[in-house]
Amino acid sequence: MNFSRIWATARRILSQLRHDPRTIALMIIAPIFLMTILKYVYNDQPQVFQRVAGSLLGVFPMLVMFLITSVATLRERTSGTLERLLILPITKLEFILGYALAFGIAAFIQAVLVTSAALGPLGLKIAGSQLTLISVAVFDALLGMGLGLFVSSFAKTEFQAVQFMPAILLPQLLLSGLLAPRASMPRALEIISNFLPLTYAVDATRKVISGSTGFTTDFSLIVLFLLALLGMGAVSLKRKSE
């Protein structure tokens, strides 16, 4: 594995983002905007804001990165740049890690700003540390990236890629325990939710915020899901086609 090729790929992706200031602005402003709305929606029930906003801090970065990655990698496929790259000395894993590094950096900036806004002006209270919360948000974002990378290989057009968000992420969101506690769901749904990465993204964030135990297990599962998705993403890149 060659780190300079990974870094070159990450830098290239970040340069592409830099030439697109509107996307950067949307990535940062949209979650803060939503958080602000949420605060006023639950103006009379601050304890509900505490619960929902906390979990959403883990969900927003995931949604955003999922969308950006699935569209970005699909563009690499359709523009021919991916095929062009794979005949050069870069390996599939280096390519994927380049994406992970670039979007990890983007996710870090997003997470720092969004959690700062939530903890500062929006008055969210957390029992754990802000640094832990940011780390969880970054890993949630990477999880979204991993999912986006993997599902984009099943999309032939950008329309399809975008539709994967409601198809893949929204069911996970419904089952994640964000809307209703998982224990209160029918047994079958609860079992399914145990196998969904977003469940652990929501759980981990919630535990940092409430300061309850079991955070390490959730966090380790997020990392495991991430590694599996990156691996599957790398396998889904094909050097040769029919």
Binding site: S4, R5, T9, R12, Q16, I87, R239, S241, E242
Partner: protein
Amino acid sequence: MSASVTTRNLRIVRDGKTIINDLTFEVGKGLIAGILGPSGSGKTTIFRSIVGVQKITSGEITVLGQPVGAKDLRTRIGYLTQSASIYSDLTIVENLRYFAKVLGTSEISIDEILDLVDLRKNKKQLASSLSGGERARLALATALLGKPELLILDEPTVGLDPVLRIELWNLFHSLAAQGKTLLVSSHVMDEAERCDSLILLRDGEILAQGSPSQLKAQTGEDEMEAVFISLVGAR
């Protein structure tokens, strides 16, 4: 003379349809070989198989003395795809810098290559704002990075004005004079005259191969256009 590219009985079937049928040819080192044929005749598929991104049904391909797809070939082949495979949201120089890094070649040569394709003056321009011809030249520049021994150029001059076309063909000849091998596809018959050897293709099969003068002698025609038409008619 050693061959840079050899294919033997190459056959490619896609969805039950034969795209390339029993293709055998050889391209000598330091030569410019032209693959000519109407669109849909299989030119791009042949190039993709030489580069190693096309699944082949049967047959053999040897590139620069190695079986196709060998790891070591990745820095030795420059491939220009038909539609420019570049990042539209990066500048010219950012595109080249990235491909140079991936290839592991120095970035110093970038200006030199930009001069070759006449893009140095607008190197800070975003690729999305380039004209069709400029995009094609940027893609060519990325293929030239790392000084590959074999250049596979899929319709490199399509959409370019006549002056630029002549300049590029001069560049191709100077590259060949340095010992590089070029495989160029085109559907413009007047470009055939500029190649050392030709492969005329139709429906995935070779109609004829040889030097331009050989093909003219074979058919008794003076124009490549007429040569092609006469060969098609002879079948």
